[in-house]
Point group: C3
């Protein structure tokens, strides 16, 4: 139940982030829907294929439906969504935190080693945005700026730290999600980022 | 037998559509072959990976061979193929109709629920063209204009409508394919398309 | 043991080739690391997903670690790596030869037919570079110039030729790898390439 609410919230947030980036790029409604859907389910689908599971959205229609609801909401409240403009990273950050924890949890259930669980959490949180950027024909934002995947990795480390000191799983999930979200918000607010990579003069 | 002919025709049509878009883009023959091959088998491969099947072209060499034949035909008859220029969407449309039905049929055999079968039909018909556009470094055509995936979805609905009223599977497959092809041709002829997506001023 | 060394060398070489192309493109260190990692493990991951195996790097952390070592080496010796500038294709070529043989060997163990093994060898050697170019938002180099995948295919044919005349597997692997590397180097040195593909005036 708790995981379910997390997943639906994260799906909605990621879909809206996809719609916002698709907007104004000569896409039609269907194209925008697919961009939002891929942003929302791309990470989890990649995780499921790597682990060898049936992709989660094929078993349960609600992720595809939540994205459709998000599209309608975006179209109806387009004015208000515009005013949220500068908060686009907030949607991204919440989705990132929630999906990271969901990804870790599913990987643990699949019996994967801890480091693979952390990688899968990061993939669940990040790959949707990467595929979105590829479809929009841009170099993925993830590779260029801000702390993004690193916040996800840090959240994964906190997750297993919490389990190690004996916290219950629900508390662990909340703490790890908040860690990811907080790190991302702090990094953006204070312009904390990694150095640019440049090995040739 | 019937399905086989459909698949080979669809493969040929999609491969040629890939060659046409690859032409004149500084690609060599091998690059063009891969673009045509990916256009032809990309949708079915995505479907098989999502369902958890071995990709169809690994079990049976004929799809890879048909694409090679299509390449030779395209090179030998390049004059005539040029004259077919304005008919590029015809190839695409036939492939779309045939692949949609093949995808639904395979998904049904795999025991998937109806809505997933329709999604898989659409993926089988559409994803090859999306991967082609990604490789050619363009925003997928699918997202930008015309009724394309929607025709595929409509064909899927017609497919299950036909089964519901008790039509035999072969007739169902023909009716659904023709629905997809007709919808696509009508949409292009009368410039029917979805509204552009724009949620920010 | 022999295969292991081949794989680690190939991983290092491919990662460095990824770093070099990522350099100077407004990427941060993490982005560069992912580009290098994807270049190094993208082909093998694609092969494993197509065959239905758990991706090799999830079972064994050393590929992810070797890429991290390669990143540190690239940053520390950036001066010297710059001087290697014109030798970028050498890294690519060695990785191509080694990965082709590893891919064939794994596909043989999976009981695949010979032609699929050769395709899988080529995928193992080539797809990492294709995904790297997609992420960098460029038309894949593979499709545009030089003999690349064709060298890999030729190496695959040599591989099965060697087995046919009864050479031991280790010798076969060495001969096939050297074939790929030599063909690629000769093709670049003498500007041997396929004709450009152009079917429209």
């Amino acid at each position: 139940m708790f995981t379910l609410i997390l997943e639906l919230l994260g799906t909605f947030a990621f879909a809206v982030s996809g719609f916002r980036l698709a907007s104004g790029k000569q896409m039609d409604w269907f194209g925008a829907y697919i961009i939002g859907l891929v942003t929302a389910i791309g990470g989890g689908t990649t995780r499921d294929i790597l682990i060898g599971l049936t992709p989660f959205w094929m078993i349960d229609a609600k992720y595809v439906l939540v994205t459709a609801v998000a599209l309608v909401v975006s179209l109806v409240f387009r004015e208000r969504i515009t005013r949220l403009g500068k908060a686009i990273f907030l949607f991204d950050s919440i989705g990132l935190g929630l999906f990271t924890v969901v990804g870790i949890s599913i990987s643990l259930d699949a019996g994967l080693p801890i480091w693979v669980c952390i990688v899968m959490g990061t993939i669940t949180g990040s790959v949707g945005g990467v595929v979105r950027d590829i479809l929009l024909n841009e170099v993925p934002l993830l590779f260029r700026k801000d702390i993004y995947a690193l916040a996800s990795i840090a959240g994964g480390l906190v997750y297993f730290g919490c389990l190690l000191i004996g916290l219950p799983v629900d508390v662990t999930a909340i703490v790890a999600s908040l860690t990811v979200i907080t790190l991302r918000l702090i990094a953006v607010k204070y312009h904390i980022h990694l150095p640019q990579f440049n090995i040739e003069k």
